[in-house]
């Protein structure tokens, strides 16, 4: 789900300091197309429990309050503003990935929404079908041939991989908007990022709750979701024929299931 990415990315910008220790392992062998490389599962599970507690105690109630007290148009405006400020960083990564089309697209989007969209509060670009071409440094590293590395669940930031954790940190440090903004404005930008995360948590609360609190193994579900969705985004997913229930080792495909 992009929801999780939406939640994890901004939150991580607050808590990214703890990441440094996790950066080493980008050189690890790539996992098989459908296999998950999760050598630190016991530690990841502990962090997962911690994240769940944080969600339960802080993020979920706070976003519930935010969603129920602030009218939707205001929340949408704040989220638009925040995602507009993310575009320069996306353009930077489009360029690093030699995706000129994406860079032009995102630049156009940034200018439309910053001007006609009143500083990014509105999103007329999407109305004109100029959607964001998502790009981040994790994707850039993938493009440059770095392997995914191990799956990691980061404190507060949530599901990631060695490669994406490095990407997260680099995006944080190199964000062009962060370079340009004076300190006061930077706090506003960070605040809107947090509010945007809360808005996502509120909007998709049914789905997020069903994974985090109703699944028999929320850790395994989240890992599956993150890795499949991320590999799909990066064009690294196993092909659609990776799973064929009609030729599954667990049952005879020629047996009539309707018998």
């Amino acid at each position: 789900m992009r929801i999780f990415a939406n939640i994890s990315r901004p939150v991580s910008k607050i808590g990214a300091i703890g990441l440094v220790g996790l950066l080493a392992a980008c050189a690890q062998p790539a996992p098989g197309p459908s296999g998950f490389h999760d050598p630190n599962e016991p530690r990841n599970r502990k962090i997962h429990d911690f994240n769940r507690k944080v969600d339960q105690a802080v993020l979920r109630p706070a976003s519930g309050a935010y969603g129920s007290t602030i009218p939707k148009p205001v929340r949408t405006g704040v989220s638009n503003f925040s995602s507009n400020l993310g575009l320069p960083s996306a353009v930077l990564n489009n360029l690093l990935q030699a995706d000129l089309r994406g860079a032009v697209h995102n630049t156009t989007r940034f200018f439309i929404n910053s001007t006609v969209g009143l500083g990014g509060l509105f999103d007329p670009a999407s109305g004109a079908k100029v959607y964001e071409v998502e790009a981040d440094f994790g994707g850039t590293l993938a493009k440059w041939g770095f392997a995914e590395g191990a799956y990691v669940e980061l404190p507060l930031a949530g599901p990631s991989t060695n490669r994406d954790a490095v990407g997260l940190l680099v995006d944080l440090v190199t964000d062009p908007v962060g370079q340009v903004l004076p300190r006061g404005e930077k706090y506003i930008a960070t605040t809107t990022t947090v509010l945007d995360a809360m808005n996502s948590r509120y909007t998709f609360t049914d789905t997020v709750d069903s994974v985090l609190y109703e699944s028999a193994d929320s850790y395994a579900q989240l890992r599956l979701f993150y890795l499949q969705n991320r590999r799909f985004e990066l064009g690294e997913e196993a092909s659609a024929d990776g799973v064929d229930p009609y030729s599954d080792p667990y049952f005879d495909p020629y047996e009539d299931p309707y018998e």
Binding site: R2, E134, T203, A216, F232, A240, F251, Y254
Partner: protein, 201 residues
């Protein structure tokens, strides 16, 4: 793995009519057009439900209808059950399949509820090995459009979808992981899981 599968289907294909008679696969072969037309119907029905403004309960039963009409539920259920399907009795499998249908309709019905105010458009289709992959795009308010892919097969006797990818997330794998975990939680007691499953969705 994929070579192995290839070979298997090649052999299956090569034995033609005789094998078809035995396995009950219909003589009319599925085509890109027929696979697309199935997904067209699925998507039209989903769009109807998300535009209807029905209550949650009505929507769940509407989604259950969609699943039972257009999806190969027994095959999906069996795949989700994984290795346990081998040791289960026929009647357990049947009951599991029924319970699974309720579970999956509620669970994915809830996902589609987030699509309210949006729509899905069917795109391109192509043949992949023994089945067809039909891509569609979901347009939701306030989000970039994203891909929902349906896999369609006629191996059940008619064209039905047997898997779905929402933004790359594979429903079969998701459910095998979840059903496996639910079984573990019940110490492998399949009958207990069958009893609990309809309320887990």
């Amino acid at each position: 793995m994929s070579n192995h599968v290839n070979r298997r289907f090649f052999v299956a294909g090569a034995t033609t009519a005789g094998a078809l008679a035995v396995t009950g696969v219909p003589a009319v072969a599925m085509t890109t057009a027929s696979a697309t037309s199935l997904v067209d119907k699925v998507v039209a029905d989903i769009n109807k439900v998300i535009a209807s403004g029905q209550s949650e309960a009505q929507m769940f039963s509407a989604f259950e209808n969609i699943f039972s009409r257009y999806a190969d539920v027994p095959t999906i259920a069996r795949y989700a059950l994984g290795v346990e399907a081998r040791s289960a009795s026929k009647s357990q499998l049947n009951q599991f399949s029924k319970a699974f249908q309720v579970y999956i309709s509620r669970k994915y019905g809830r996902r589609f509820r987030e699509f309210i105010g949006g729509r899905i458009e069917v795109g391109s289709a192509k043949e992949v090995k023994s089945f067809f992959e039909v891509k569609s795009t979901a347009y939701l308010q306030g989000r970039s459009p994203f891909e929902v892919t349906f896999l369609v097969s006629d191996r059940s006797g008619k064209d039905l979808f047997f898997n779905m990818f929402i933004e790359g997330i594979n429903m079969l794998l998701t459910e095998r992981t979840e059903i496996g975990a639910q079984l573990d939680k019940r110490k492998g007691n399949l009958d207990q899981l069958i009893k609990d499953l309809p309320s887990l969705g």
